[in-house]
C-alpha cells in the first residue's frame, strides 16, 4: 500500500478503465429479465414431462430391458465431459503458464460449475426410484463405481465453484463501489461476498496460495470424474464397453466437448456483452489451436478404440462393430467421426478457419457431435448382448428415444443456461484485476511465440 493511486500494485486508472468496461455487462435490464423468464417457462414445460415420468414410470422413456441406459445416461456422460473444460483451461493451461487464457478462465469456470451441477441432477432423471436417492448415502457400498462417481462429481463441483469464486473476491471489492443504478441487493451481495477485501499484500498472498492449491487439486479430481464415469461402462463384461482405454478415451473426448462449449460461450459473450476488446481474434486463434490439439488426441484414442478390436473381430466385438461401421448406427457413427472430428481437425489447420465466426461453426458442430457420440458409446453395446433377445415386444429390441425423454433432457440444458446466465450477468464475466495486470491482451499475444 505504498500509494493511494495503486490497487494491488496497479495504476488506478488502468483498473478503472477495465472495470468500467467489464462491469458494464453486470446489470439487470429488460432483455435479461425476459430471457430468464423464457428460460424458466421452458424449464417448467420440461419439468412437466418429468412429472409424467414420475407418475407413470420410466416406461415413458424409450429405454427397455435390453437397452436400459439411453439418452439420460448419455446426457449425463456428456455433462460430466463438458465440465472438464474448467480443469483444462484454468489448471492445465494456467499452471503451464499460458497468459492468454486470463480473460476466458472465468467463462471456463462458469461452464464447469454449470455442467457439473446439472450432471448431478440429470442422473436422477434416470433413476427408477428417485425418492430413494438418500439410500446411496445411507446404504452406499464402496465397491460400486456409482459411489465413486457421486463422490468425485460432488467434489469437482465444489472445487470448481471455489475456483470460480475465490479469484473473483478482489474484483468484487473493486466492483462494489462502481455499480451505480444497480439494485441495492446486488451491491450488498458484492459487499458481503468481497469479505472486506482491501487489496492488502497479505490478503493477495493468501488468496494466491489458496488458488494455487485449488488448481492442483482440481486436476486429479477432474481426471477422476470422467475416468470413473467411463468405468460405469468399462467394468461391465459387454462388447463395446469392455475396454481398457475407456478412461483416457473419455477424458480426451471430454476436452473436445468442453473446448467447443467454451468457444461457443466466448463468441456469445464477446458479441453480446461487447467485449471485443478483451476477447480478441487472438484468443480465438489460440483456443482454436487448443481445440486442434485435443481433437487430434481424441482421434488417436478413437483409432485405438475401434481399429484394434476391428482387426481381431472377435465374435461379439464383430457384431457390435458391424452395427457401427455398416449397420443400424453407421450413419450416426460416421457422422460423428468424420463431420464431428476428422473434418474439423483438417479445417483447423488453416489460419482462416481459426477466426471467430468460422471457429464458432466448427465448435457448434463438434459440440453437437460430442453429444451424439455419447449416445453411440452408451446405446449400441446394449443392443446385442451375449444371449439372443427373443420373445419380447419389438420396442424392447430397438431403442427409440421418446418425446418425454427428450424434453427431460432438454431441461438439463435449460438449467445450464439459467446457471450460466445468472453467473455471467450478476458477476463480472472477465477477471478485472488479472486482466488489468496482464496489460494489453494483444500486446501479450505478440510477446508469446505463436
Amino acid at each position: 500500500m505504498n500509494s493511494q493511486n495503486k490497487i494491488g500494485g496497479l495504476e488506478k486508472d488502468r483498473i478503472e478503465t477495465v472495470a468500467s468496461d467489464i462491469l458494464r455487462t453486470v446489470r439487470i435490464n429488460r432483455s435479461f429479465i425476459i430471457w430468464i423468464m423464457v428460460l424458466f417457462v421452458a424449464l417448467a414445460l420440461c419439468l412437466f414431462a418429468y412429472a409424467i415420468q414420475l407418475r407413470k414410470g420410466l416406461i415413458v422413456a424409450g429405454i427397455r430391458d435390453f437397452t436400459s441406459w439411453g439418452m439420460y445416461i448419455s446426457n449425463f456422460v456428456f455433462f460430466v465431459a463438458t465440465s472438464l473444460v474448467g480443469m483444462l483451461i484454468s489448471c492445465v493451461m494456467g499452471l503451464i503458464g499460458f497468459k492468454w487464457i486470463t480473460p476466458v478462465t472465468r467463462i471456463a469456470e462458469i461452464i464447469a460449475v454449470a455442467f457439473a451441477a446439472v450432471a448431478g441432477l440429470v442422473i436422477i432423471s434416470d433413476m427408477g426410484r428417485p425418492d430413494r436417492l438418500p439410500y446411496v448415502f445411507l446404504y452406499g457400498r464402496v465397491q460400486s463405481p456409482i459411489l465413486w462417481d457421486v463422490t468425485v462429481v460432488t467434489t469437482y463441483f465444489v472445487l470448481s465453484l471455489l475456483l470460480w469464486f475465490l479469484p473473483m473476491i478482489p474484483d468484487l471489492a473493486i466492483a462494489k463501489t462502481k455499480l451505480p443504478n444497480r439494485p441495492a441487493w446486488l451491491i450488498k451481495a458484492y459487499k458481503i461476498l468481497s469479505f472486506k477485501w482491501i487489496h492488502h499484500e497479505e490478503q493477495t498472498k493468501i488468496l494466491g496460495q489458496a488458488v494455487k492449491i485449488l488448481l492442483l487439486l482440481i486436476i486429479p479430481t477432474a481426471l477422476a470424474i470422467h475416468t470413473v464415469t467411463s468405468w460405469l461402462f468399462a467394468v461391465n463384461p459387454r462388447a463395446g464397453w469392455d475396454s481398457t482405454i475407456f478412461g483416457p478415451y473419455f477424458v480426451s473426448g471430454a476436452f473436445v466437448a468442453g473446448t467447443s462449449a467454451l468457444i461457443i460461450a466466448m463468441y456469445f459473450f464477446r458479441s453480446n456483452y461487447r467485449l471485443q476488446q478483451y476477447i480478441t481474434d487472438f484468443h480465438f486463434e489460440r483456443i482454436a489451436r487448443l481445440l486442434f490439439l485435443v481433437s487430434v488426441v481424441y482421434l488417436y484414442f478413437n483409432l485405438n478404440e475401434f481399429l484394434v478390436p476391428a482387426y481381431k473381430m472377435k465374435k461379439f466385438d464383430a457384431i457390435h462393430l458391424h452395427e457401427l461401421f455398416s449397420g443400424n448406427h453407421a450413419l450416426v457413427f460416421w457422422g460423428t467421426q468424420i463431420l464431428g472430428l476428422a473434418l474439423p481437425i483438417i479445417l483447423l489447420i488453416f489460419r482462416k478457419i481459426r477466426k471467430p465466426t468460422p471457429l464458432l461453426v466448427i465448435a457448434v458442430i463438434m459440440f453437437v457431435a460430442s453429444w451424439i457420440k455419447r449416445i453411440i458409446i452408451v446405446v449400441p453395446p446394449q443392443g446385442h448382448p451375449y444371449l439372443p433377445v427373443q420373445y419380447v415386444p419389438v420396442e424392447w429390441m430397438v431403442y427409440k428415444p421418446t418425446l418425454i425423454e427428450s424434453a427431460v433432457t432438454l431441461a438439463s440444458f435449460i438449467l445450464v443456461l439459467i446457471i450460466v446466465t445468472l453467473l455471467s450477468k450478476l458477476f463480472p464475466v472477465i477477471p478485472i484485476l488479472e486482466t488489468a495486470r496482464e496489460g494489453n491482451i494483444n500486446e501479450i499475444g505478440k510477446d508469446e511465440k505463436p
Binding site: 414410470g57 427408477g128 426410484r129 459411489l147 461391465n236 415386444p393
Partner: protein
C-alpha cells in the same frame, strides 16, 4: 396377527418372543428338520396334533425353543407368520447348510414354455417379463440349434452384486442371488453388468400392482413387485424354504430340470421326481456352464443337447416369431 395377540394368555406372548429369539438353537437341539419347522417358526409339539385329533381340549401343550412345555388355548393357536423384518432377515441370510444347484438338460427341452408360465404366475409378471426365458440357440451354421431355458445363473462371482450401489441385490450363502426391491434405487447398473441378460425392470406399474397392495414384502418371492425397481429369478427361495422344488422346475413337463443341494451331491428331476447323484449326472453327460470365460462362476449347469428324443426342426418350425 396383532389382534390375536391381545386375546392370548400372557404365556403365548412369551412363546412368540422365545420362538423368535432362539429358533435356531432349537432346530439344532431338537434335530427336527423338514416340513414341520420349515416356516422357521413355531415348533408345535408333535403331541399337540395328536391330542387335538383325539378329543377337543381347551388347552394344548407346546414346546418352546428352549425346551419349556407350555399350555396354550387351542383356538388361539395360529401358524407363525413372519413379519417383514423377519422375512428380510431370513431372506438375506438364506437357508443354512444348503448350497442350491440347478442342472438344465438341453437334450430334453422342447420349448413348452410351461416353466415360464409357472414363474410368471408365481411372481405376478406379464407374459413378456421374464425371470426365466427359453431361447432358441445356434452357435454357427453347422452346429445344432437347440432350445435353452435361461434363468439367472446365480453366479458365485456375480457382476451384478459388485456394481450395486446400495446392497439391493445380494448373494446368499446358500447360493441364490436375490433382489430386495425395498432397497433398489432403480439405477439398472446390474442390468448393464449382467452378461446373461437375466434381469428385468419394472418400467411401469407391475401386473398386479393393485391386488398386491398391502401385502407384506417377501424378498424370497419378490412380491409385491414394485414400479421402478429390478426383478429377477429368485430360485424360488420361498419354495426351497418349504422343501419344495422351484416353480419352474416343478412345472416342466419334459424332465428338463434337476434341482438340488450341492452339499448333498444330489439333484431331483422336477418332472420325474427321481433323485440322482449330481456329480455322476454332470460327469456322464458332459455338464458345462454358460460363458465360463467371464469368470462369473454360475451355479446353473447345462447338459449338452445331444440325443434329442424329438425332432428339433419340427418343433422349431412351430414357433412363428420370436417377437411378441
Amino acid at each position: 396377527m396383532g389382534e390375536k395377540k391381545k386375546k392370548i394368555k400372557p404365556e403365548e406372548t412369551t412363546v412368540q418372543k422365545i420362538i423368535e429369539s432362539s429358533r435356531r438353537d432349537f432346530l439344532k437341539k431338537a434335530g427336527i428338520s423338514g416340513a414341520a419347522v420349515v416356516s422357521g417358526a413355531a415348533a408345535v409339539f408333535a403331541g399337540y396334533r395328536h391330542e387335538k385329533a383325539k378329543n377337543k381340549e381347551k388347552y394344548v401343550k407346546v414346546l418352546t425353543t428352549d425346551n419349556r412345555l407350555l399350555e396354550v388355548p387351542a383356538d388361539q393357536l395360529d401358524g407363525y407368520k413372519p413379519g417383514v423384518k423377519e422375512l428380510q432377515k431370513r431372506g438375506r441370510e438364506g437357508i443354512k447348510g444348503k448350497k442350491w444347484i440347478w442342472v438344465i438338460d438341453l437334450s430334453k427341452c422342447r420349448n413348452a414354455r410351461k416353466c415360464i408360465e409357472a414363474c410368471q404366475n408365481a411372481h405376478h409378471l406379464r407374459p413378456y417379463e421374464y425371470h426365466i426365458n427359453t431361447l432358441v440357440m445356434q452357435e454357427s451354421v453347422n452346429t445344432p440349434a437347440y432350445f435353452m431355458p435361461k434363468p439367472c445363473q446365480h453366479c458365485d462371482n456375480p457382476p451384478c452384486v459388485s456394481v450395486c450401489p446400495v446392497d439391493a441385490t445380494f448373494k446368499r450363502q446358500d447360493g441364490p442371488v436375490l433382489i430386495d426391491n425395498e432397497r433398489c434405487i432403480g439405477c439398472r447398473f446390474c442390468m448393464a453388468a449382467c452378461p446373461y441378460s437375466a434381469r428385468m425392470f419394472h418400467w411401469e406399474d407391475p401386473r398386479d400392482a393393485e391386488s398386491d397392495k398391502g401385502k407384506e414384502y417377501n424378498v424370497e418371492l419378490n412380491i409385491p413387485q414394485k414400479k421402478g425397481t429390478i426383478s429377477k429369478c429368485l430360485m424360488s427361495c420361498d419354495r426351497l424354504r418349504e422343501n419344495k422344488l422351484p416353480y419352474c422346475v416343478s412345472a416342466c413337463p419334459n424332465g428338463v430340470y434337476y434341482f438340488g443341494d450341492e452339499n448333498e451331491d444330489a439333484v431331483t428331476n422336477g418332472t420325474t421326481k427321481e433323485t440322482v447323484k449330481l456329480s455322476e449326472l454332470l460327469e456322464k453327460n458332459g455338464g458345462y456352464r454358460l460363458m465360463p470365460e467371464l469368470g462369473t462362476e454360475p451355479r446353473i449347469y447345462y447338459l449338452p443337447p445331444k440325443n434329442r428324443l424329438f425332432d428339433f426342426k419340427k418343433e422349431r418350425s412351430e414357433i412363428k416369431d420370436f417377437i411378441i
